[in-house]
Subunit: 115 residues, 2 copies
């Protein structure tokens, strides 16, 4: 199964820019929409709308609520998501293409890092 979200969830994710160093995705959904499990590399997420989402991986769920114009780091991870709010969700993902530098912590946490 292809875990690239622009393949596995192509109605929700699309590539809006790409070069040697980054690939940038736009995500857009509506209340109640869900994604199937997919993989993100190390990424920076910039919210273009506020939203409430539930992220799930390995039997764990976390709920994330963010305003528009927020920026969060996302450790490389596989998860699925659900729009549990009552608004659209629009976000940008700046994916880093280069491998993680040697010696950095390999522990990923589910969902965006809070600060």
């Amino acid at each position: 199964m292809n875990d690239d979200p622009v393949v596995s969830n192509k109605d929700l994710y699309r590539v809006i820019m790409e070069n040697d160093r980054v690939r940038v995705l736009a995500y857009a959904d509506m209340p109640g929409d869900r994604t199937t499990p997919h993989r993100h590399p190390d990424s920076v997420m910039v919210t273009l709308s506020g939203f409430r989402r539930r992220l799930s991986a390995d039997g764990r769920d976390i709920d994330v609520e963010l305003a528009a114009g927020e920026v969060r780091w996302l450790d490389a991870q596989e998860h699925s998501g659900e729009n549990i709010g009552d608004t659209e969700c629009r976000t940008i993902f700046v994916e880093l293409k280069e491998p993680k530098p040697a010696g950095t912590d390999g522990t990923a946490r589910l969902g965006p890092t809070l600060s």
Copy 2:
């Protein structure tokens, strides 16, 4: 002279997130505001407002007009900027900390890449 914009133009640029791989800046100004010359590493810019700006470097100017929610690549470069529109300008810069991979084109262009 320190060419880091969060030092040289600290009223306009601030660090909102940083880790081993990226530093993320928020930029905010008003019509007529100008920056002094400063340096960006390879960066992805995400606009949070629409704006019109004039960027200057090495005696050249380019005018840039973007809507809110746009994403552009910015080659590493030194420039100064001026808000030549009639609206505030709010943008996010995702700066890549790792060096550019060997073998990639070293030619920088002034301002954001158009596509």
